[in-house]
Symmetry: C2
Subunit: 334 residues, 2 copies
Amino acid sequence: MNDDTATPMPQPGKIMLVGIGPGSHDHMTFRARAAIAEADVVVGYVTYIKLVADLLDGKEVVRKGMTEELDRAVSALAAARLGKKVALISSGDAGVYGMAGPAYEVLFQAGWTPDDAVQVEIVPGASALNACAARVGAPLTHDFCAISLSDLLTPWPTIARRLDAAALADFVIALYNPKSGRRTRQIVEAQRLLLRHRRADTPVAVVKSAYRRRERIEFTTLDQMSDCDIGMLTTVLIGNSNTVLRHGLMVTPRGYANKYDMAEGGGARDGERPGRSLSSGLNGWLETLLADHAAGDSVELLASRHRLPVDYIRATLYEPLPAAAPDAPQVEEA
Amino acid sequence: MNDDTATPMPQPGKIMLVGIGPGSHDHMTFRARAAIAEADVVVGYVTYIKLVADLLDGKEVVRKGMTEELDRAVSALAAARLGKKVALISSGDAGVYGMAGPAYEVLFQAGWTPDDAVQVEIVPGASALNACAARVGAPLTHDFCAISLSDLLTPWPTIARRLDAAALADFVIALYNPKSGRRTRQIVEAQRLLLRHRRADTPVAVVKSAYRRRERIEFTTLDQMSDCDIGMLTTVLIGNSNTVLRHGLMVTPRGYANKYDMAEGGGARDGERPGRSLSSGLNGWLETLLADHAAGDSVELLASRHRLPVDYIRATLYEPLPAAAPDAPQVEEA
């Protein structure tokens, strides 16, 4: 039974983890702007607070330093516990090196669960890699990775192993937090690791403050990368072995030339069919592998030829998977 | 001299490569919506055209099939050459496996340069990995990579090498195009490659149509991944070795526990300082490396201990870089 004399339940609080995109309002999402508009409290790193200054009239604003992510999350939770709506803002995407992770770490530590009165919403946005890529051409049209060079929370060998693997496997690479006032050698060590596998003339774009007033774009090559003007507001995009710099645009081919004769009207090359896997795709490759092995090529030779682990080649040859029955018809693809 | 009798120059055309985000209007950017609004012609894959159907009144709409990316770009260029403004739309981000790459390939092939009358603008958006991550927690708070399992334009050994490298170096992994009606074995082979380096119970999120009407999220583990309902509208997020699934949320710790005692009030651990590199960061690690080597540990032993290439360890020990002078004061970091 309700007791008419009881204090009314306070309005439940909410934490909105808002990715504001690169920093210009044009490239913010409708939901990001609405989330800030409905917030009672906005919490963020001072630089990001400045980027949304015109949206903050009448709101409580909590400005924090760069090293205070956990503090920001603690402040947000405290305000939400009082029934307030809190926008905890990140530049780019809240989930990519943003506040979503630290916020959940703090929430879990505080005993929060999704059943709590305090609700949590994550508002995605265009991350620095999306924004920087858009400003330089189309560098991310093929497999890519993001690696932060900050060793404030990550041991260097972990970072170094990722640089080595990404270079070897020919990913396009986006370096976040490449350099700061105190961290100046990480970018040089990164360059040294990448050059072990990648050509000195690999195209590199050094992008500072994409879509902001002080945007600055510099194109260079992998062997010159560490000489560029790089700071904490810079993202570095490193091409894969097919990336080209043409007419001042950095473009990674998607691979159409593997299948189509681009210069000759765009018809499919011999042995290739539009809408189907390449002849060197999984099924075609497996056929070749089986045929070469039957013809006498050893597992070790095949592994070396295809630069893949010996035990993967062996498993693929000797532990074939049941041929999966095709699913119900699905959308087809490129 | 101007000739008054000359035909007036037609309005120059424009190609806008628009990333519409995950598909709900809330998560589209202001610029994406404005670009579609100012377009005379909207070109895109039929499914994406449907997602923006209410923005298309009075516009010429060119619907293309999934395999027709180059056709879409050719159509866009043809319309722009007639002086039209063309929005060539992609879901997510136009640069991430989107239309930006194919468009530049077609433009370059046609002799286009940035001085051409036809101008090009890329409008970034939240990609599938950002959207899917926002729906499942905070899986992308540390280094991650995106790998497409489509072998329609990429040879399988290239894809397999990237899966192997990403698993070994402990990246969080987003799989794009994981499976289609015809391509059913790629996800199984991917699982086999990933399990060579990663635990069977590694958390995996299978996200279909994030933020769309038929959104569906399934949490599983790496050894069960290929049994899930996966199709062309699915993105698969695979955690790193630290990722946890807690209270139905997938979270990758950023690494605060490496530096701070999270359970004991959040103070820095012995030997660690807020705002500075970890004791196992680059400089601390180099000191340890030099000391261990001086104490008799061989280069090979050190390489094995830190799981890094022998020649990198040798170069780091014997080819020290000049100590870079700190730059002008910069923003500090976490």
